[in-house]
Symmetry: C2
Subunit: 201 residues, 2 copies
């Protein structure tokens, strides 16, 4: 199955700076993209990058569309196909396969904080809306079109890496390039009073 992976090469992952400077954010985002592409490929799917700009040395075929996420993804919709976010640094081929093999006209993988981190679309009546509370919007769009929805219960699919507090998830549960990059940059988990966070150096 085609797996479209949206990506923004211009100033990516701005909420990760600090602790990461702009060059580091670009390098880290590229590692996460490579991990997601590799997980999709190892799951037997055909990854494609949907990018807002040209990429040097892309890990998969690239289609450039400068528009924002929802219209750009909608323009690629050609069921059956999947959309997977580029910042799922914990992704594994097994987790990708759980989404691709789930039944239903539309398969949704919720992201933490109301997001939709992956979806499988098997019916042309569906369209995407990544703005706002996208998991609720996607359920509603599917319901209005009379489509059957399945949700995939996966921690790896639910974990997108947006904010500094997310980096510890990569260190503790990631096994790819992004985790290697973070360790190489000196990050390590530290336990504080409440949740566990990261320290550098």
């Amino acid at each position: 199955m085609r797996v479209v992976i949206p990506y923004t090469p211009d100033d990516p992952k701005s909420r990760l700076g600090p602790p990461l400077d702009p060059d580091e954010r670009a390098a880290f985002a590229a590692c996460m993209l490579e991990d997601v592409v590799a997980a999709a490929r190892d799951a037997g799917a055909r990854p494609e990058v949907l990018s807002t700009g040209q990429l040097e040395d892309p890990p998969a075929p690239v289609h450039v569309d400068e528009r924002s996420l929802s219209p750009a993804v909608d323009a690629t919709l050609d069921p059956p196909m999947a959309v997977v976010m580029a910042d799922l640094a914990l992704l594994t081929p097994v987790a990708v396969r759980r989404a691709l093999e789930a039944p239903g006209d539309v398969v949704l993988a919720p992201g933490r904080g109301g997001g939709t981190n992956a979806l499988v679309v098997r019916d042309e009546a569906f369209s995407v809306d990544f703005h706002g509370v996208s998991i609720a919007d996607h359920r509603e769009i599917a319901a209005e079109a009379g489509l059957e929805v399945t949700e995939v219960d996966s921690y790896r699919l639910s974990t997108d890496i947006d904010e500094p507090e997310d980096l510890v998830e990569v260190l503790l549960h990631g096994g790819g390039r992004a985790a290697d990059w973070l360790r190489g940059a000196g990050f390590r988990p530290v336990a504080t009073d409440g949740r566990v966070t990261v320290a550098r150096g």
Copy 2:
């Protein structure tokens, strides 16, 4: 299988105040406990509450142990058995069953932020350590005892409700008493610039 659910009735969920006052936190924590007990029971398991104090009208048999979490849980370990945290407000019988049916001497369900939200223990050589980065500690304890570890990839098991930002997960993905309680108390999801959060009233 026996499922031990640790619970603290005295000033529970302190990080949820504000937005919740102490009485509200106690009521909400009790709803989450009831949801976890119901999910375990509906999964065909035998839930037991391991409480630091007496409970009025408990949803399952109660064993009182005033000690802190790790020694209290260690004292209940009698394999095969499971331990499931009391604040997993998104838990379903299917998610519980995925943990109980996973193979291995030890099954770990990671929680966000380095935690361990559920575990299945099938070998007496294992012991628990919930302090610090517990998922890393549990992997190490199992490795040192030569035990085979399986990890369960579940968003529902990974989501413990500790902080105000976690409440939106309950509203969007919970289907039990805790979600009903939150809605009844006037909470609803709102989309801001970054992640989605909750508003009241």
